[in-house]
Amino acid sequence: MILRCSLSTLTPRTRVSLYSVLATPWIPRTSSSGYTLGRSTPPALPFLAEPDLEKPQRSGRSLRISGGNRPVFLRNLHPAFYSTCNNLHCTWDSFECIGLHGQDAENAFKVRLSIRTALGDKAYAWDANEEYLFKAMVAFSMRKVPNRETTEISHVLLCNVTQRVSFWFVVTDPSRNHTLPAVEVQSAIRMNRNRINNAFFLNDQTLEFLRIPSTLAPPTDPSVPIWIIIFGVIFCIVLVATMLLIISGIRQHRRKNKGPSEMEDSEDKCENVITIENGIPCDPLDMKGGHINDAFVTEDERLTPL
């Protein structure tokens, strides 16, 4: 995997011009130094093109870092940049990582931030200071790993910052000869993920480290599931209410049974038997037939009924 990167610790003015060259190519924008891009067709986004490693350096501004078998070359990216950089003061104390090969490439991680999604109006701009903070957080995370307590901010290298905002970073060892293994970096970041997120007001979804899976928060399981508590409460209430109703029903039933047995000699008991007075059955209104016409007055009614 080959990376094409850009300068990372330039002054803000050069950064804007750099972005204007590299990031949104089809919108002609004026760079801070007045340099405009006059392109008719949108150029390929620079990171999609393959870097040309075999070409000789165009200027003397290059540092050579050799690590193991694979030298890492630095060079200028773009003629336009070169021309703006000539007019401005470019600091080269950090370096650009172009053309990381093999092992070094595997030890690099891509980071993606979605600041506007997370913060909306309160989104801050991504500038050199934020990058410095990021490098500090990564260095801090590495320091917590045993044997790596001497990691400095300058050992963390950022490159290819796009407008997305996304970039690659890699951590080198103090001698700057080789990059630290991916496993160490991964575990360090995972341990301190929360603090890194909080430093930027972001969360796991808006500050993504690709290839570093985040540990999902464990579900907060209470010792007794909540639903059982509510179920128990309602169950007890319903049970108690049912018992009360049943018991009061039984009591009423007993009172009713005692009542009729006391009134056995009373004459106004005609619930279940048909009483006969004066030879005429005193049936109440028969709903089923209407055989007995109660409007018909018998001659015996002149007598006073009991």
């Binding site: 949108p42 931030l113 579900p219 909540i226 639903w227 309602i234 049970l239 049912t242 109440p284 089923k288």
Partner: protein, 603 residues
């Protein structure tokens, strides 16, 4: 003379009892589906016509019979004609089947209600897998609400053959549901009469709250517009589509079926409720009121449902768009916030032309987001109530409150209907002198509830949901049509329409309108016969019966055939109730023939 029959304290209690019985879960989860399937606003035309032609007359008939005979379904039909005792028994059998499976829905509603008191709602997030690096696979493939329903609530098995064990959580909820029902019917009309005030009125309060909330949700208007003007086929304009649906016989048949089953005719519950009336009660007015309220509630509930649909569809559409935006932003490292829904198409075209190779890599993952496809997912039944609604609720603010309100409303509707169902069984039992002399009313109710609860445990097994669907689809449909047909024919032709008319006049003091006579005598029986023929031919032409089974590996429903023992159960269900009618008539015939040797038959 018999003991004085318990009565409703006021006629209002009777009306509320009928309303809480008729307005049930079907109004909420079946009517909106039918509306969507058969042309939205134009479905109301066959619906209202069927209401006037079929619903009101049959409802009035049942209430009048119950009020006149003053007995439960068995006694009432035996009074109409001794050969019709089978009709009453068939009603009781169908009500028994209904009680068995209907309360399981209440158990599920209790389960969801108890789980609504958590933050976040358990169906809004997928649970984590074993090593906490991702979510459980089944939940990823399906959605979190489907996972919660199929796995956590039902723990459903892959097919009906694998019945699994009884799940203790739904079993507990079922016991609670039956306990609540027992509490309400314990004292007969005395307790039922007070409970129906709540079960009839409170659901309306919740529906109104939901209507206000639903209409103010983002995207609700999309759903409402879809309800009244469904897109239907791309060739027709919405109006033409609606007109076409009017000519579709299926729309009319479904309207007739919905009216029929929504009012709960033929179960014997209405006869039971009316038997506790004063003889002079104006049941004609009540019949009209109850049927109009039932239909208006259906329409009202479907407005609420469609606004919720609209919200859910819009939400899903927007999150689909956001996923596409994120995918493109990440693949091409565009500026965060640059891509919006408005310029998405433009930018996609630009990217496709400028970076074709990279775009073609990303292209398979880009989904086509469409609001119409989201709206077109028509769901009915438990799927609507427990999956679609919960998905919409989890995206609302203060979702716990809405969830509690919604499941509380479902519970009220379900328990209100259960009161009627149990009354249909208990009234004939308590009317019977044999049984009521041995056991008090409370004990009979308790035994019935216990028996139903024990059998209902079948539906809490892992395959229980499949058995539930069998009962839901086949236990009541054909049998009810036959029962109501028998009832109408019996009253009009066996008992005599003129005799019934004079009975009613003596009872209530009002003459019978010619309209009712025409409907009872001619139109309604014809309608029921045509519905019956349609259903029979539909069953026969479908061939093998199939069901939807949940496939955990794929995270979706698959269609399977019923095994032979399930088909046997279906046949038994239908036969058990329909055979009662001829068997009852046969039994009476035989006993009469045997008695004819001793005494003259009593008229």
């Amino acid at each position: 003379m018999e003991k004085t029959r318990p009565l409703w304290a006021t006629p209002l209690q009777f009306v509320f009892a009928c309303i809480s019985y008729a307005v049930g879960l079907g109004n909420v989860w079946r009517f909106p589906y039918l509306c969507q399937m058969y042309g939205g606003g134009s479905f109301l035309v066959p619906y209202i016509i069927m209401l006037v032609v079929e619903g009101m007359p049959l409802l009035y008939l049942e209430l009048a019979v119950g009020q006149r005979m003053r007995q439960g379904s068995i006694g009432a039909w035996r009074t109409v004609s001794p050969y019709l005792s089978g009709v009453g028994v068939a009603s009781v059998v169908v009500s028994f089947f209904l009680c068995m499976y209907y309360n399981v829905v209440n158990a599920w509603a209790f389960w969801y209600l108890f789980h609504s008191f958590q933050d976040p709602l358990p169906w809004s997030v997928c649970p984590l897998n074993g090593n906490r690096t991702g979510y459980i696979e089944e939940c990823e493939k399906a959605s979190s609400t489907q996972y919660f329903w199929y796995r956590k609530t039902l723990n459903i098995s892959p097919s009906i053959q694998e019945s699994g064990a009884v799940q203790w959580e739904p079993a507990l909820c079922l016991i609670l549901a039956w306990l609540v029902v027992y509490l309400c019917i314990l004292r007969g009309t005395e307790s039922t009469g007070r409970v129906v005030y709540f079960t009839a009125l409170l659901p309306y309060c919740v529906l109104i709250i939901y209507l206000v909330r639903g209409l103010t949700l983002h995207g609700a208007t999309n759903g409402l517009a879809y309800m009244f003007t469904p897109k239907g086929s791309p060739m027709l304009s919405p109006l033409a589509f609606q007109m076409e649906q009017l000519a579709n016989p299926k729309a009319w048949i479904n309207a007739a079926t919905q009216i029929f089953f929504s009012l709960g005719l033929g179960f014997g519950s209405l006869i039971a409720f009316a038997s506790y009336n004063e003889p002079s009660n104006n049941c004609q007015k009540h019949a009209i009121i109850v049927s109009i309220i039932n239909s208006s509630t259906s329409i009202f509930a479907s407005i609420v449902t469609f606004s919720i649909y609209g919200f859910k569809a819009t939400f899903n559409y927007e999150s689909c768009l956001n996923k596409v935006i994120l995918l493109l932003t990440n693949s091409f490292d565009l500026e965060d916030g640059f891509l919006t829904a408005n310029n998405l198409e433009q930018v996609k075209d630009y990217l496709a032309s400028a970076y074709p190779s990279k775009y073609s890599e990303v292209f398979p993952q880009i989904k086509n987001c469409s609001l119409e496809t989201e709206l077109e997912t028509a769901v009915q039944g438990t799927g609507l109530a427990f999956i679609v609604y919960t998905e919409a609720i989890k995206n609302m603010e203060v979702s716990q409150l809405w969830s509690v309100l919604y499941f509380f409303m479902l519970l009220l509707l379900g328990i209100g209907s259960m009161l009627g169902n149990t009354a249909a069984i208990l009234t004939p039992l308590t009317d019977s002198k044999v049984i009521s002399s041995y056991l008090p009313k409370e004990a009979i109710s308790g035994l019935v509830c216990l028996a139903n609860c024990a059998i209902g445990m079948l539906f809490t097994m892992e395959a229980g949901s499949y058995w539930f669907d069998i009962f839901n689809d086949y236990a009541a449909t054909l049998s009810l049509l036959l029962i109501v047909l028998a009832e109408t024919v019996a009253v009009c032709y066996l008992y005599g329409l003129s005799r019934f008319e004079s009975d009613l006049k003596a009872m209530t003091g009002r003459a019978l309108n010619w309209y009712w006579k025409a409907m009872w005598g001619g139109v309604s029986p014809l309608l029921i016969i045509s519905l019956f023929i349609f259903y029979l031919s539909d069953y026969i032409s479908t061939g093998t019966l199939r069901y939807q089974a949940w496939d955990a590996a794929q995270g979706q429903l698959v269609t399977k055939d019923y095994p032979p023992h399930a088909l046997a159960v279906i046949g038994l269900l239908v036969a058990a109730s329909t055979m009662c009618i001829p068997l009852g008539a046969l039994g009476t015939l035989i006993t009469r023939r045997l008695k004819r040797g001793d005494t003259a038959p009593v008229a």
